[in-house]
């Protein structure tokens, strides 16, 4: 924990969210993001060279942080089962490879994934609330969420109503997150900001704070359905937000970049960013996740390169 004093207690948070006007005043009172500075800082951290034993450790850490995701209209129960098998044993020929954090599927496939993962220690996350657009009545979004939790999802990835956020209706976004959090019960709530549609870093910072004030356990960059998806500068802004939020309220919130993370190099850049921005407290699967699917194959390929000393190829990995 950082030693900074807690400036925002329960009462302070209640005051902020007590009315639409005070919420708006607080969010717009957040310091602006220096766009060039954020990009420059992210680009500079991305040049860090991580080699040998540090790389081996980073690869294993990254594997354990992967939210192995399949969110296609063409998802079948069979594909979900195959992915679950891979999540529990990413490299069947090497038992020392850690398992991934969770499997992330659409809500109707949660039951299938839960069945396939029983006893493996891998959780099931479900996207809900009319993913990816979020354009549905609140009742439908909550029904979606409750059903996923009933089926055994341990984590819910909700999308915020970007239309309302961009129109300045922060209160509506806030209330939806609160309602979804209630519907989640014990399941962790990840709030997807869809930063590709928020346009500015200032908006990303505001949306991050809004989600955290509303009770998010995790803030997540994107659905993966909109370009640009996760980028380093956006993740930097969100990591700063969770760091500041913990310093002011004492509550720690996780971060999950998702979409566009394809290579081991990408994954390691994110780990460096976490360590240098939020700090090592976030450098565990409990507080930082990588939403991706193809990156796992690359991580496994790099891992095998380190253990065998020869370059591998896609022929020796599962298709997904």
């Amino acid at each position: 924990m950082t030693a900074e004093p807690i400036a925002l207690d329960r009462q302070g948070v209640d005051d902020i969210v007590s009315s639409a006007a005070s919420l708006r005043r607080f969010l717009h009172g957040l310091p602006g993001v220096d766009q060039v500075g954020a990009q420059e800082r992210a680009a500079r951290l991305a040049t860090r060279s991580i080699k040998k034993s540090a790389k081996a450790e980073a690869i294993d850490l990254a594997i354990s942080m992967v939210d192995l995701t399949t969110l296609e209209g063409a998802d079948t129960p069979g594909k979900v089962r195959a992915m679950c098998a891979k999540a529990a044993h990413p490299d069947p020929s090497d038992p020392s490879v850690p398992r991934v954090a969770v499997v992330c599927v659409y809500s109707d496939l949660v039951a299938e994934a839960v069945r396939a993962l029983r006893g493996t220690g891998v959780g099931v996350a479900s996207v809900a609330t009319a993913f990816p657009a979020g354009r549905a009545p609140l009742d439908a979004k909550l029904a979606d969420t409750r059903r996923a939790v009933e089926d055994g999802a341990t984590e819910i990835d909700m999308v915020i109503d970007r239309g309302a956020f961009l129109a300045g209706d922060h209160r509506k976004v806030f209330d939806e997150i609160v309602a979804t959090k209630q519907a989640c019960g014990d399941a962790h709530l990840k709030v997807i900001l869809e930063t590709g549609e928020l346009v500015t870093y200032d908006n990303v910072r505001r949306a991050s704070w809004l989600a955290m004030l509303a009770g998010a356990d995790f803030i997540k960059t994107s659905t993966g359905k909109v370009a640009p998806a996760a980028t380093l500068p956006v993740t930097l802004v969100m990591l700063e937000a969770v760091r500041d939020f913990r310093a002011q309220t004492g509550r720690q919130v996780g971060v999950k970049p998702a979409g566009g993370i394809r290579t081991t190099k990408d994954a390691i850049k994110y780990l460096v960013l976490v360590n240098e921005t939020a700090g090592p407290d976030w450098l565990t699967p409990e507080w930082f996740r990588l939403g991706a699917s193809s990156v796992l194959n690359d991580l496994l390929m790099q891992r095998r390169k380190l253990t065998t000393g020869v370059y591998g190829g896609p022929d020796y990995q599962t298709l997904d």
Binding site: G309, V310, Y311, G312, G313, P314, D315, Y316
Partner: protein
């Protein structure tokens, strides 16, 4: 004020995926002419350039191998046309390496003729290496040659004719290649020809550097399907064959004293082919 024009010096870079990047390692070395005078700086590829080149070659394989053989022939012929247009440059480069005017011109002519010869083979090799097999049963039975995949090529010392003689047969049949050569001139000039002649990026990748350093990485790479040891250092050849066995690469180990001016025959075309046999019911 001097009116003498300043030389436009050239830096020879690698050829990976249709682009000309510097080596990832940032290394370069000086190329000198036969008299030891400075000619150019060239990139010295590292193992990571090998890795990147294999990725590029793998990516290009699907598109290149699925083109019709006729179209591959057209593209290779186009390369020969472009070679013809750059003849003078090739002759100059060979001469700077110490060849006389007449032998250099003969070598360039032979290299272009060799390329045209292989261009003609693209749509004929199927008829020569494939067959309609007579079988005892109501089936049509065909064997057709298919490209092996990504071929690692260690280019021989013969700088132009040798290089052409190892690259052309590999790509004529639909393979893609990663070629390691120790002579940047005229190899990279050939790459410039390939880059400007309809050949899709990544079908040919050329790395300049030391074969002894790069060959083991190419030989052990699990995503390389075949290996041509034409220019392999003699003391390394056996260990390269052993490394290649790990994923059952096809290995071609020609005699060290191969005469590149001789009629090559179809041996290099068929060395990197797989035979696919299809049984098809007759009638019904």
């Amino acid at each position: 004020m001097s009116t003498e024009r300043v030389n436009v010096r050239k830096t020879y870079k690698l050829f990976i995926g249709g682009a000309f990047p510097r080596s990832e390692s940032g290394r370069s070395y000086v190329v000198t002419d036969a008299k030891g005078k400075f000619v150019a700086n060239a990139s010295r590829a590292s193992r990571k350039d090998v890795r990147d080149a294999v990725v590029a070659a793998r990516k290009a394989f699907g598109g290149w191998s699925s083109r019709t053989a006729y179209n591959r022939g057209q593209i290779l012929y186009r390369v020969a046309e472009m070679l013809e247009g750059r003849k003078a440059q090739f002759v100059d480069e060979l001469r700077s390496a110490g060849m006389g005017r007449a032998p250099a011109a003969a070598e360039v002519d032979a290299a272009i003729d060799r390329w045209v010869w292989y261009a003609g083979w693209t749509d004929k090799i199927g008829a020569v290496a494939g067959a309609a097999n007579p079988v005892s049963g109501p089936y049509f039975n065909f064997s057709t040659p298919e490209p092996t995949g990504v071929v690692g090529v260690l280019a021989p010392a013969s700088p132009l004719l040798g290089l052409v003689s190892v690259i052309a047969p590999v790509i004529a049949t639909g393979n893609t290649c990663v070629t390691v050569t120790e002579s940047p001139l005229p190899s990279i000039t050939l790459a410039e020809v390939l880059a400007t002649s309809d050949l899709p990026g990544g079908v040919v990748n050329l790395l300049t550097g030391q074969a002894a350093e790069l060959a083991p990485w190419l030989a052990s790479h699990m995503d390389v399907n075949a290996l041509d040891l034409a220019g392999a250092p003699a003391e390394l050849a056996t260990s390269l064959e052993q490394a290649a066995a790990e994923n059952l690469k096809r290995v071609l180990r020609p005699a060290a004293d191969t005469d590149w001016t001789a009629d090559p025959g179809t041996g290099r075309l068929t060395a990197f082919l797989e035979t696919k046999t299809v049984w098809h019911p007759v009638g019904v």
